[in-house]
Symmetry: C2
Subunit: 331 residues, 2 copies
Amino acid sequence: MPTIKDVAKLAGVAVSTASYALNNSNKVKEETKNKVMKAAEELNYQKNGLASDLKRTSTNTIALILSDLSGPYYSELIKGVQDITRTHGFDLIACSSIGGSASTALKFLREKRVDGVIILAHNIKDETIQSSARQDFPIVVLDRSLDNEFVNEIEVDNVQGAFTATEYLIHKGHQEIAYISGPANSHDNELRLQGYKNALNHHQLPYRSKWKISGEFTREGGYKATKMLIAQNDLPEGIFYGNDEMAVGGLQALKENGITVPEDISVIGFDDIQLSEFVSPPLTTMKQPKYEAGALAVHLIFQLLSNEKVENYYKLSTELVERESVKDRNA
Amino acid sequence: MPTIKDVAKLAGVAVSTASYALNNSNKVKEETKNKVMKAAEELNYQKNGLASDLKRTSTNTIALILSDLSGPYYSELIKGVQDITRTHGFDLIACSSIGGSASTALKFLREKRVDGVIILAHNIKDETIQSSARQDFPIVVLDRSLDNEFVNEIEVDNVQGAFTATEYLIHKGHQEIAYISGPANSHDNELRLQGYKNALNHHQLPYRSKWKISGEFTREGGYKATKMLIAQNDLPEGIFYGNDEMAVGGLQALKENGITVPEDISVIGFDDIQLSEFVSPPLTTMKQPKYEAGALAVHLIFQLLSNEKVENYYKLSTELVERESVKDRNA
DNA sequence: CTGTTAGCGCCTTCAC
DNA sequence: GTGAAGGCGCTAACAG
């Protein structure tokens, strides 16, 4: 690969001149600029971005770390991130945290390959983030709470959301409500469980551990959990799924067993993923403000990058989306 | 940020020794190694990945360029890419080509920031790719055909797929079949249109331009195109949508106008996106081997990286997925 | 306006 | 086993 040196040599100028010309500085005469450009073209010269970043000590790019790049449910969030990043003229790259400590994500988090990082990946350990946090390296986490002055947090109000979902079921006349939970190590899940319990408690309904089954936040998991619930042979009146993905799996399990939603049992989810609108029946769920979360995250990064003070913690609220998977048992 | 120099100084060794120690070379005594490690920890040292990549002249990462990161329909493809990349111990980053010549994608394509690139982004111009192509910089394109010895192509057989889809409708007794097309500048779209025409022709059916309407490959576009078709007041018996996304929009338009699928009109799509299974009625479509395409793309990159010869062109075939959106009019 | 030069942070021969 | 020194490709003072 030709370097700037080669270009300079061919054009018969010094490297610095070549550099100036290539970067369109006005320090260079049109004539020389043309000469350099022609040389560059002739050699098919492409600058080495790594080298210039190293020199500049900034990359103009921010990284979005996701637990799995192929998970289709970040769409809205990514959009928020993308839009704002672009208006600031920065680059955005997405990378996955699959693969533990050897993952791409960690490399970007630890080594100074980007100017800022947004994390939405439960499989990254708190300590990892802690030890990467430092002055002048903005990190925003969207999936956890972390006490560190260099990391900023944006959370949706999971407790309130789960409370609302559960209470909605209660208001609609359901007394026996199961919770299909996400993985135990998920902070989000913990908070949603909490909200569920709070609502139960608030309405003097008992919390029964037989009605808390783990579904790992996956469709498959929701399917299996629901099958287990059915196997217990004592169906609740309503099911609150820790996320929509599991609810979709649950719907399928229910259908397979000839249980109709919402006639026989009501179902409510959490997230409002794209699919929710299309499953049958359309899923009632708690909508997360994903676009806003993404946009806010980038926003914070840029403020931090320009050394402005920002709040360390933001909480976004969820919103009930009524569709057709919950029956009004009072009616 | 502390550099390796600081670590060396604190540990009381030379930078080279520190470097060896940090990279776990066996050239260094256990004792010194420990000393260095301790110093690094104390300073919360994080190596600068840019610098080491610059020195090594390879990054161990490959980039996947997509036209829009938030488009949820690459899921399977990304998975294929991701899986294979990981088994090779390489990093994967995804970036978007939104933003034209200022886009992140182009930066990665032009400057040597990654070891290889996979492109699935119709909004990147052929010439851009051409001028970035060079020895030792593997590029695989999934969305076009390009005559360049340094770029490799993987295509699904769009012509055959569209032919099969159209013929399927014909076999099921449909004579009048509309094609809702993607954007004019899309190579994929052109080929699908070709396949559609071929099938018509093959069965002595006339091609009528009033039944070719453009839907831009988006849901919204499919919706609008369908509305236009309805407004023409002369509905065909079947509609072949250039992709599922448009079909989903079309289904909605049809429903709004009280036209039932498949009783009143049959619908077939192309792609087999995740949603297709869930819409109502479940969409019959041509499944693209997306995972395979992604996996193959990475595979090629690695072969190229190790200087193996590979074919310059691969064609993958599609597969009919029968669901419930097509009626058998012969029955 | 152009050329000389000194690093950015790291790795890696080459001597010792 | 360890240290000194050169250089990856580029930018940006600083001179001229």
